[in-house]
Structures are given as C-alpha cells and as structure tokens.
C-alpha cells in the first residue's frame, strides 16, 4: 500500500530514471487513499466535478498515460510495467495483448471467466473488469492496468463532470450494467497476497522470464520526489483544454460510450443523452424546447431507435417510418434533423 500520489509517481519515476542497464520492472501497488486520475490529454475542468471532489477531499492527479478519467481506491491492485522498449511488441495493440495475458490468466485462476477485449480491456460476461493505459516515458515504455477487487460505481458517477443530474443517473446506470468486479463475480473477495502471487507467476509465464524482487535506486527515489511535487502543481494539472467543438462524452468501456449532445433545428434545440455500443444506438433520452405531437410518442421514438445501426440510412428509414405510422407533427424538425443530431456522436 502506497500513498495515492506514489501509486502514480513510482512508475513514472522508474521510467524517467531508466538507464540502459536498468532491468524491466513490474510494480504492484494499492493506493491508500481514494483519488481521481485523468488521462494525459484530458482537460481537468471538462472531465472532473471539482466541487464534488473538493467537498469529499478527493484529490485529482494527471498521469502521463492515455485513456480517460478513473476513480481509484484501495479496492484496486495496480500492475505497472516499466520496460525497455525493445522488450515489448512494437505494435501498440500487440503490446496490450501481452500485458493483458497474465491479468486474464490470473482472473481465470480464481474462477472468473475473463477474456481479452480488444483493443485494451479485460471483460467478463460483457462487462469490463480491467482497463489499461500506456505511454512512452523517458527511455521506457510503460503499460498499466489493474485488478478490480471492488468498485464504487456511485462515487465514480459523482466525480465525473456531467451536464445535469439526469445524465449522471445514466452514467451510473451504465456503470452498473457494464462494469464487473471480482467481488461481484465471486460473491467474495479473493486474498490480496494470493492474487499477487498468481499474477507474478502468470507474468513470468507470459514473458518467459523469471521475476525477482528488487529495490529502488537512489536516482529512482529522487525522481519520485521530483514528480510528487510536479504532479501537484496547477500548471501540470490544468494543462490542456478540450477543443470547443467536441460534444461531452463519457467512456463506460471500450465500445460503450455515453454522449450528451445538443442540436439546433428550425423547430428548437434537440438535447439527447445517447449510449452507443459499437456501431449501435444502445439507449436514448430526448429532451428539448421543440414541439412534438402526439407528445406521448416521443418515448416511442426513443424505444424505436434502440439497437438501430448508427448510419444515416438505417436511422432515416426508421424515423421516417415512425413519423408516417404515428402521424407525427414536429414543426421545424424533419427526419434528417434527428439523423444529424444523433450522428454527432460519431464526430
């Protein structure tokens, strides 16, 4: 167990301090305190509900690996690889596959039917149980992931910045539907030491190399101390602003996204919360200041579009048929407007 900050700065420091003779390193750690971690290219203000985090004393850290905003706490065991670049596959997807293999094998050892879900997640029964991230840092290539023992979906939904509370409910609903944990799968928590032991064994098998315990060098410790300070500066945390033309979206897992969109038509603004699953529209909620008669049919339109392919033809065909069948009157809004409003999620 390490401080929340060290759960990030240790692996970054090992990468920055890496010399050609430094052995490849696998770090296993657990954060002592909960925190929010944003991806390297994310905008803090756009992604995180800072007032909620402040009120709960939850710190926020920007990491140098990719991916989205995550809530992290002691219910997770992190696995972080800091490797010589030539010791990992050059193609990023192949690198993730190698990193994920021992995670999957460990889950399986405990009876969880986990599998690799391309490009870089671990799933069990269509739910995500592990996410990963990677980066070239210093002279090293880094890959990170976690074992999800237990997870607080409610806090995760609260730390994200969302347009309104109804969108937040949809985030929570999506997390409940699409996230798995070891506790949820097994009904009980497996022993931490046993998980670590099996993971090290599975890592050794996947890499074809023996793993031995190591200690930090003086330079690595100095790098940690430098990064502890840097990661807390406003300059580091506040860098990068999201371009204005990107609509708000929250990733639930690879392939499942929740989008909040607004689309202006002659008849008024159409606001939608859209959950997409691959190339399908998985769930849709419509609000706005437009006129739609019979009004009760609006919910019918939401239902109709579930599982429809996110393509111009499929959406237009379904909406036009719906308008004709139910004699819909929506002044200033035609089927094409709905199609354009929905397809914003593909931008």
């Amino acid at each position: 167990m390490v401080s929340y900050l060290r759960s990030q700065t240790i692996y970054h420091a090992l990468a920055y301090a890496k010399e050609p003779e430094t052995p490849d390193t696998v770090v296993l750690d657990i954060p002592a305190e909960p925190y929010v971690c944003i991806g390297f290219h994310q905008s803090l203000e756009t992604e995180v509900d800072l007032s909620f985090c402040k009120s709960q004393g939850i710190p926020v850290v920007r990491r140098e690996t990719g991916g989205g905003t995550v809530y992290l706490d002691s219910g997770q065991l992190f696995a972080q690889w800091v490797f010589e670049p030539n010791h990992l596959p050059r193609k990023i997807d192949s690198r993730f596959q190698l990193f994920i293999k021992p995670l999957v094998e460990t889950y399986k050892f405990f009876g969880i039917r986990a599998h690799y879900h391309p490009p870089n997640d671990v799933h069990v029964r269509n739910r995500k149980i592990t996410g990963t991230g990677a980066a070239a840092i210093g002279q090293a290539e880094v890959v990170t992931g976690n074992f999800l023992f237990d997870f607080n979906n409610e806090v995760m939904a609260k730390v994200l910045k969302v347009p309104d509370e109804s969108f937040r409910e949809k985030v929570l609903d999506s997390l409940d539907k699409y996230m798995a944990t070891m506790k949820r799968e097994l009904g009980t928590l497996p022993g931490l030491e046993e998980v670590k032991g099996i993971y090290i064994k599975k890592c050794s098998e996947a890499l074809g190399r023996k793993l031995v315990p190591g200690a930090f060098t003086d330079e690595e410790v100095r790098a940690m101390e430098r990064l502890d300070k840097k990661f807390l500066t406003e300059e580091w945390l506040g860098q990068y602003q999201m371009p204005e033309n990107i609509s708000r979206r929250v990733k639930i897992h690879a392939g499942v996204w929740l989008h909040e969109t607004g689309y202006e038509t002659e008849g008024g603004v159409i606001r939608m919360a859209i959950r997409t699953k691959g190339n399908l529209l998985d769930h849709l909620s419509i609000t706005g200041d437009f006129s739609f008669k019979p009004e009760a049919r609006l919910r019918g339109l939401e239902k109709l579009l579930r599982n429809v392919e996110l393509s111009e033809n499929s959406l237009k065909e379904a909406i036009e048929a719906f308008y004709e069948l139910h004699e819909i009157d929506s002044p200033g809004i035609v089927a094409e407007d709905w199609v354009k409003a929905i397809l914003q999620v593909k931008n």
Binding site: T65, G66, R90, K91, G133
Partner: protein, 155 residues
C-alpha cells in the same frame, strides 16, 4: 513525388528521416523545415485520438519532444530530429488528430522549425535510396506491415 512502398509502408525519397524515432524532415525554400511522423509511426500507433504540439517560440534540441500523440490509450512523444525553434504548429491536428494517420507526409505535418544546425542534423539522417534501404531493414527486422485508416491518401 517519388516514393517506395515496403510492406505497404510509404517512404518518400525526397525527405530526410530519423529512422529510429520514425520522423521525417522536409527542407523548405524559406530556410525552415517541416517535421512529421512517418507512415510506419502512424501504423504502429494505430488511430490517433489526440495530438498536442509544443507552442511556437519553443526551443527544442534534437531528440526532445515537439509533440505528444495518443492512440487507443498509448501516449508517446514525437521527437525532434533537428535542433531549433518551433515557428508554426499544425493547428488542424488539435481538432482532427487522425490527419496524422490519413496524411502523415502532407496535411498531417506536425510542426515547422527554424533550424539551428541544419547541415549537421541532416548529416545524421538518411534520404533517397539510403532511406528506402534503412526502412526496408527496419520494417523487416520489426515485422511491420503498414495499415491505413479509411480516407487515407493513396499512392
């Protein structure tokens, strides 16, 4: 423009390449250089989601990052093949990072730089047939086959 194709990877013979870092340099008439990622680099990274270049006015030494790119969940630097001052960045990439995948040698350029020691830096790079041979060896050694996303420039 003359180019070669090795395992679907495009190599232009009029550009200079830092092969290990997978970057290219085009020498412009006004004394500046344009720098970008190679076709091999975009293929290894996969579809790029974010790209952020350092600001104009930034001084960079050869080998230091001039931009970061994120594909899937991997973040990596674009390392400068020359020493100098960044004079222009490709603003398109902040809004459409996949331009790096679709047009790595043209519209997907990363920065323009006023070089400090151009002759010396170019002497450490390869161009023409030597670049093609260097990439042939690298592509074969690393087992790379280039892939191109929908809408990529065709050659």
């Amino acid at each position: 423009m003359a180019h070669e194709k090795i395992n679907e990877c495009i190599i232009f013979t009029n550009l200079y390449y830092a092969v290990e870092d997978n970057t290219w340099v085009r020498v412009n008439d006004d004394g500046t250089v344009t720098i970008g990622m190679t076709d091999v680099a975009q293929s290894l990274a996969g579809p790029i989601l974010h790209a952020r270049a350092k600001s104009p006015g930034t001084q960079r030494k050869k080998g230091r990052p001039i931009a970061t790119v994120e594909s899937g969940k991997w973040v990596g630097p674009v390392k400068s093949p020359v020493t100098g001052e960044i004079v222009e960045v490709n603003e398109t990439l902040a809004k459409d990072a996949q331009m790096l995948n679709r047009s790595p040698y043209n519209e997907g350029w990363v920065i323009k730089m006023k070089p400090a020691n151009l002759d010396e830096d170019l002497a450490g790079m390869v161009t023409g047939d030597a670049a093609v041979e260097a990439y042939r060896a690298k592509i074969e050694k690393d087992g790379v086959t280039c892939t191109h996303i929908e809408g990529s420039e065709e050659y």
